[in-house]
Symmetry: C2
Subunit: 635 residues, 2 copies
């Protein structure tokens, strides 16, 4: 399926990857991101070649661009969830009528670029050429390259009417587009082509359930292309039940085999049964395809749906959700970020925001944060960008965070409910916070009890990690990186809290001066710290066989000041604005925004018991001691 423009033309269908793409392999001749899967930044053709050589079957997923902004936000969440199952790639279709190359959040271009940049997925962007000008196409390709897209599925596309005529200098066949891409962009893109092949009629199980895409486009024009043969499973609405299925069959003028009709007819009113039958059929079909030895991978037309495809893949044993992460944070697949292996810990729960704010960087920290010049974070004003916004709509957020807030304490309770997983007083579970759009990380659960206790007392935690003194990199909770290694962490705690609490905290921290580094800042930027102004503190690192040390997260004082703006703004942008202006709820959030401090604490003694809980307990004790003078005035 992948175009190999300078293949040797020999009789073997195996890609001779080593003979081409030499520039990119020279690029990576010294592996600079040892923590990552060394193959994860290879070209798609290389990944395919390796999987074919090893006989390791893959799967891939096709999506189409959604019609609405909310649909786009939902699709991106789906990318995150389905990406976890380990697809070799996804592809995003191209519909000329839908303004596919625009900057709209629903365009093919933006969806594919979001998948690459923000979800870290190897992505193929479809592109049709029929009825489009050479300049238009070239513009799309330049844009795709700029956005970090590396793979194009070159298609002819359907003409507007029933017939079409070859245009002079225009594109009449996919092969014309392929030739254009090669002449304008050399070897930059991996170019895929599609071709239905009737000889591959394995379809004894029917359901229009298979198509074969063979790497043979342009062959009618005498162009010799070679590449892996991929079998695709089209998966049309069988999870929507019988009537949907019947409609599809009618539309596509398909002949459904009698044996299938015989099964379906008696259960036609039982949607669940139809769905189960469909899944079973698909599983058998896939098993047959894989057993044939003719297909190295399965390509699923998901129709943007999740359940059935996931279920089929799980039953096939191909859903390889690997709890081990290459790095503790979600990596991007943009080629210019291939060496990135250090980030400030602050964006741990908002990796997409981090990627967004650093998208203009020319270089990314590699090995050491301190090497980079003073970081220039883009401003974050677009809190409602579809890939940055909360997955939950306003009504749900109000149910979770309170239709009406009555006090600062009612805010504390929201944090506590998020941590405990217990329903709030109105019976709703709090599954996200403005700073955490996902449920609690497994690692955070290790400290759940302590977190609950301190949040109830107004230490509103938004980021934390326990100390780890050399656990195996395969540890299901805190592990990351290649196997055979050891991971380490310094205990970290980040929270909002009141001026009064900060006063007591500062008194307590005097006792921990040599052990705990802190940064304490309010929305106006008033900054109290005992850490060197320009020195990052590594808080996560890993040691692996035969590799350099990797330190993927640091507490960087300068970045913290950028994060501070975002963290404070989220109070208003995501929470306060749910309420009417001047309403008591809105004013409570505004008060916290204006008066609380954002605090981060690092316990440098990673081999000892985490002292940060003791720091917080001591602070509460000091606060509750009657008649104690706090240092609030000095702030």
């Amino acid at each position: 399926m992948v175009n190999e423009p300078r293949g040797d033309g020999g009789p073997t269908p195996r890609l001779e990857g080593s003979s081409s793409g030499s520039e990119s392999s020279k690029d990576s001749s010294r592996c600079s991101t040892p923590g990552l899967d060394p193959e994860c930044h290879d070209r798609l053709r290389e990944k395919m070649r390796r999987r074919m050589e090893s006989g390791d079957k893959w799967f891939s997923l096709e999506f189409f661009p959604p019609r609405t902004a909310q649909g786009a936000a939902n699709l991106i969440s789906r990318f995150d969830r389905m990406g976890a199952g380990g697809p070799l790639f996804i592809d995003v279709t191209w519909h000329p009528a839908g303004d596919p190359g625009s900057d709209k959040e629903t365009s093919s271009m933006v969806i594919a670029s979001t998948a690459v940049n923000y979800c870290g997925l190897e992505t193929i962007l479809h592109m049709t050429c029929c009825c489009q000008s050479r300049e238009q196409i070239t513009g799309y390709l330049h844009k795709a390259k700029r956005l970090g897209l590396k793979n194009i599925l070159a298609l002819r596309g359907d003409p507007v009417g029933d017939q079409w005529e070859e245009e002079d200098g225009g594109f009449s066949y996919a092969a014309d587009l392929v030739r254009h891409i090669r002449s304008e962009f050399g070897d930059y893109f991996d170019v895929c082509v599609a071709g239905a092949d009737d000889q591959c009629a394995l379809g004894t199980t029917g359901l229009d359930a298979h198509r074969v895409i063979r790497h043979r486009a342009g062959s009618d024009r005498g162009q010799a292309c070679r590449g892996p043969l991929v079998c695709s499973v089209e998966w049309k609405r069988q999870d929507k039940g019988y009537h949907s299925l019947r409609q599809l069959v009618k539309l596509s003028k398909l002949e459904v085999p009698q044996q299938i009709k015989d099964v379906i007819e008696p259960i036609k009113d039982n949607d669940a049964a139809i769905r189960n039958y469909g899944i079973e059929q698909a599983v058998s079909l896939c098993q047959e395809l894989l057993a044939s030895g003719l297909v190295p991978g399965l390509h699923f037309y998901t129709l943007n749906r999740e359940m059935a495809t996931t279920e089929v893949l799980k039953r096939l044993g191909m859903w390889t959700e690997d709890p081990r992460r290459p790095l503790p944070w979600a990596v991007s697949a943009h080629p210019k970020r291939r060496e990135e292996d250090v980030r400030p810990i602050f964006w741990a729960s908002r990796p997409k925001s981090y990627i967004y704010r650093t998208q203009e960087w020319d270089e990314f920290p590699n090995g050491r944060w301190g090497n980079s010049s003073s970081p220039a974070f883009g401003e974050l004003k677009d809190y409602y960008l579809f890939y940055l916004t909360s997955k939950s709509p306003r009504e749900e957020l109000l149910k979770m965070w309170g239709e009406e807030l009555t006090s600062e304490e009612s805010v504390f309770e929201v944090f506590a409910c998020y941590l405990s997983g217990e329903p709030n007083q109105n019976g709703y579970k709090v599954t996200c916070l403005p700073w955490n759009d996902e449920p609690l990380a497994a690692e955070t659960s290790l400290m759940k009890e302590e977190l609950l206790r301190v949040n109830r007392q107004g230490i509103l935690t938004i980021n934390s990690q326990p100390n780890i003194n050399g656990k195996p990199s395969s540890d299901p909770v805190v592990g990351w990186g290649p196997s055979g290694g050891y991971v380490f962490q310094k205990a970290y705690l980040e929270f909002f809290t009141s001026r009064e609490t900060v006063g007591a905290l500062l008194q307590v921290l005097k006792k921990y001066e040599l052990r705990v580094n802190y940064h304490i800042v309010d929305v106006k930027g008033e900054n109290i710290t005992n850490a060197p102004e320009l020195q990052p503190n590594a808080v996560t690192w890993g040691i692996f066989p035969g590799r350099e040390i990797i330190q993927p997260t640091v507490v960087d004082p300068i970045s913290f000041m950028f994060w501070k703006d975002e963290a404070f703004a989220l109070w208003i942008e995501q929470w306060g604005k749910l309420y009417e202006e001047e309403s008591p709820s809105r004013m409570i959030i505004q008060y916290i925004h204006d008066n609380y401090f954002l605090v981060n604490l690092v316990d440098n003694e990673f081999p000892l018991d985490n002292c940060l809980w003791q720091v917080v307990e001591d602070t509460f004790e000091l606060l509750n001691r009657p008649g104690t003078e706090q240092e609030t005035e000095t702030l």
Copy 2:
């Protein structure tokens, strides 16, 4: 003493460092070498300012360029030893008659540059201007800058005759030289000047033992200079006994106080007593100077001698030999190496050779070795450069390594004697080897028994370290870096051994495939490894409070191929060439050079017991098992 060209001219004698030198402070605004003393690369004026502010008295040492090449080699060893006591700086005098700016190993320029680059010492180069042309001086200054020298003591120098005349456009006073340096080199150099000040006559203890250098040169020309006041202790030959002293007194037309004469006269034939008295006098003088509160530091005219100055400093409590190293290897003070914090482990015992071979690099690895492009090591052909050669002359080496070798085993025995510290069969201790010019490192002693055993059996070790799983950075044996941290190591073993042993070793290593990385290479470059071709393996690293991770040593496969050439060449250059060509001894060394392999092993499991000794034991067992087929043929 340090010229502050853009000082504020105010009444306080404290340097206002922050108002000038802003370029260099911007340079270092992000500390990129967290493992090093963050102050060690500051300008001398900054170091002085901080020491004065903190009231922390310093000492400094003056040397003159030696007359012979052997003298130069000896002086460099002295720099290493006296540098360990913690001088704030050293200075090297300038004698126009001695070709001070040349490339001779005895020139002031080369000695000062060696002190900076190879001994890591903050160094002031004297420079006189009298009777030298503007072009000559400019040339010297450019050369000094290129060599990494940052401090110049600008002096007038003595005219050739008794009188001198001001030259047109030439330099008549030190102030002319200062002005010239500033106009040609801006703020690049820290410029010091000298001035005797009779008002500072503290000399109740006599012995011409003090001079005061005050930062006031050029003041007669109306130039306002401010800087720290440094008191210098001249230390003339009092350790050479009475007669030397009398000669000096005569030469310098000094008046020796009667109270001193009274003490000396009765002991004039007892050199040791005279020496002790001299030391005591100097100690009292220094104590008086320090107690006066007028001097922030003491400057010693060592006359290139070591014992007395060291003794005085020790008695004063100013000799601050700190067992903690900033990094595990000897750092260079060249400004362009300020960020260097990673080196291949291979040159651990030959840091000067490493510095020499990388002197042309424009950038030095900082944080990660893998970031640097393929390293381009300079060829090492000049094994007899005065700072690379052995400290011991040929006769001594022959006594240590054998006047006559009879077999490979007699070579093994030399290695064993070096490790055991026991005399060899001729009664001489082996204090160095071609690969180790210093006695055994304290760390190596941790494994002495194991090393001894394997060397006796032909595993000729030249570099090794035990595994360390988080010892305090203050550990006297394996610690390095700032306090409060933890250091780690992977066990490492590097040795020469025969082809037969390598055959058995390779069989044994199959059992350790996932745990031990190895590189095995012979002089022709035949290379056997299980490590990724381009991936360095970090074998020493440290975790410190509030800092990024530091990994100062790595096993880098590419660098190993450069080291291999040097390591094999040392057999011939330093050992074989001690013997006549064609002599049996020479042929034994040549045989080893031609046939042995150089092996390095890394045990990646740093938290477990070091398995490398077991690997070697298993190898011996396999070798000694009767009738076992080795894989020698496959090599």
